[in-house]
């Protein structure tokens, strides 16, 4: 894709502006769809219909977007205006930058960096800067509480996330996202959740990889502030947490970023453990391995995880801030270290 654009437009700035456009379009459509899906999923779980008026409910999110555009953009009187206005854009930009290394198919990846997954971890952590700024600049005690919680939570959960990712990186021997996906080619059994490519001995690793997969999924839930880890915006305690004071389009930016992050982390989990854009049938059915089919596989896998996120959100209560930390430091991190040790031992032997 990158080569194609360079050939067409030449190696100039235009190429690099066009490159991320498909992702942005995808992200917008995904956010619209996911908000609707979230409302419909929650509705059916709760024995009600959900939105069913604006265009049979399908256009509800669009209508909400238009409504948000029209809303007055309020800046609290004593807020730090510059930082207050900057924060939503930092959060959104950080989320969007993470998409640069997500491989949508064998032909499209924003930038196939040789440190892809490392870049992703680093850049998505940037969003907490935005959250902290939002909480601080709002000059609201609830926002400040929310921001402090968010920072504590996201930084803590970076550790199990990184450790779980490290396991895949150790087996794959590369940090590049495309290479990690390519290694998992040739059918469902070569996915890293089943030990990746290799002989029969790889099945020894199955329990450890499955544990790593679970750790990664739980940690990413916490990193995206989804229930049961949504304490930064716990509406029954902190009203709306760090975005209490935001209205109109700035609120929409936070919202957009949240849904963007939901898909980003789901995509990372899918890429690392479920073969990314690889078809589960490998080379058996070649038509399912074309780039278009790859995109569909990839989005499908991501959406499965997004659905599980929604499912959990509408089922579970919320943890308290100290219990959240206990879960991270007492359970997830030790489990990750054991995993790391076991997989390391296997590789050495």
């Amino acid at each position: 894709m990158e080569q194609f654009l360079i050939d067409t437009f030449g190696d100039n700035i235009l190429t690099y502006i066009i490159m991320p456009v498909p992702v942005l379009i995808f992200l917008s459509l995904f956010a619209l769809g996911a908000v609707l899906a979230e409302r419909k999923v929650s509705a059916y779980m709760q024995d009600r219909y959900g939105p069913n008026r604006v265009g049979k409910g399908i256009l509800q999110t669009l209508a909400d977007m238009i409504k948000l555009f029209q809303k007055e953009d309020i800046t609290p009187a004593k807020a730090d205006k510059l930082l207050y206005n900057l924060a939503p854009f930092i959060v959104f930009t950080a989320t969007f930058m993470g998409y640069a290394v997500i491989p949508f198919c064998s032909l499209y990846i924003g930038a196939d960096l040789n440190i892809g997954i490392f870049y992703f971890l680093a850049i998505t952590s940037l969003s907490i800067v935005g959250i902290l700024i939002a909480g601080w600049a709002s000059n609201n005690k609830y926002s400040l509480f929310g921001a402090m919680r968010a920072v504590a939570q996201i930084i803590s959960y970076e550790i199990p996330t990184a450790l779980a990712i490290l396991i895949v990186v150790m087996i794959a021997g590369t940090l590049s996202m495309q290479e990690i996906v390519e290694l998992q080619g040739g059918g469902i059994l070569n996915w890293f959740i089943f030990g990746g490519p290799g002989g029969a001995t790889k099945y020894i690793l199955l329990p450890f990889l499955f544990a790593a997969f679970m750790v990664l999924y739980i940690s990413t839930l916490a990193e995206t502030n989804r229930t049961p880890f949504d304490i930064p915006e716990a509406e029954s305690e902190l009203v709306a947490g760090f975005h209490t004071e935001y209205s109109g389009m700035k609120f929409a930016m936070f919202f957009f970023a949240e849904y963007g992050q939901m898909f980003a982390v789901s995509a990372i989990v899918a890429t690392l453990f479920l073969g990314g854009w690889q078809s589960p049938f490998g080379e058996l059915i070649p038509v399912l391995n074309t780039p278009v089919a790859q995109i569909i596989w990839f989005i499908l896998k991501g959406c499965i995880f997004v659905f599980v996120q929604m499912w959990l959100r509408w089922t579970l209560p919320r943890l308290r801030v100290d219990q959240l930390m206990i879960l991270c430091w007492k359970y997830l991190i030790p489990v990750s270290f054991i995993n790391l040790f076991a997989v390391g031992l296997y590789i050495v032997l």
Binding site: D47, Y142, P228, A234, E237, V239, R318, L319, V321, D322
Partner: protein, 372 residues
Amino acid sequence: MAELKTEEMILNMGPQHPSTHGVLRLELVMNGEIIEDVKPHIGYLHRCFEKHAEAMTYPQVIPYCDRMDYLASISNEFGYAIAVEKLMGIEVPERVEYIRVIMAELQRVASHLVAIGTNGLDIGAFTPFLYCFIDRERILEIFEITCGARLLYNYIWIGGVSRDIPEDFQKKVKDFVKYFRPRIKDLNNLLSYNKIFIDRTANIGVLPPDVAINAGASGPTLRGSGVKFDLRKDDPYSIYDKFDYDIPVGEGEKGTVGDCWDRYMVRVYEMEESLKIIEQAIDNIPEGDVLSAVPKRVRPQEGEIYFRTETPRGELGYYIISDGTVNPKRVKARSPAFCNLSLISQISQGAMIADIVAIIGSLDIVLGEIDR
């Protein structure tokens, strides 16, 4: 390392806050996430019930009683009606007593469903809240076919009830009881025994029995602390002595006796007990005229009375002074939620901000009754 200097922060929670159950304002002194002190401020929903009552005739007060505890209107009317009947020496027909008890127990289930659902909602479980409201809706439908209203009924009158039960009332109530028993099991699976819910409520906001008694707590708040006190058993009124049912108390099943989980669970058990009462009463409603004992003109002798009943929130008492005219000289209500709320600063010392919403939820306050 030298001790870091920290400052206390005062956080105003409410009167407009999602989980203060109305217009309660809490002044929290916070040390980080830890609460050092709580001061509840009330009065945002004050409607001068007691002063209004002085200008009304006795039957006209009943709609005002409805509006005190708007989640359990029937129970409020019930206490007031009996108090005035005692003052006037009216004997109500047996049929009326049965209808009143069935309605009051249905109301108790409906009210507890709101309490349980919102307690879950405070802790972040949204779905059980809606399940509770679906079940409550079935009860409100029964009320609707009976008296036309869904929230504020003006159903129990002095000396009777406003109209007789409809033909299919018994069938509808029986259907509800049959439908609701398995739903309690579902609720327990989904919320009561959920690991996260237990973590959030067990050992939180522990209310020792002696503190509860000293503060005048009543209802599930008192029983959650293991004190077996229920006016339906201990000071029976109406026909409650005819039925066979238990008074569940908190046993510290998941933590300490008197914690939030106990208070929550007492309500779940109480719903089952209420179903038992309803089942025993529904088939034995005698024939009769529900309006036969309703006086044409309510004009009690000079005198005074204090009468208390067990509402879903606890002991609701009415102190009525009559000066022999058609207007009461004084109507004073003793509100259970008010006494229960007064405990909040004692039981939430050292709790975290997330716990305080769990504690408020487990006390099940209704501001309409506290402020009156």
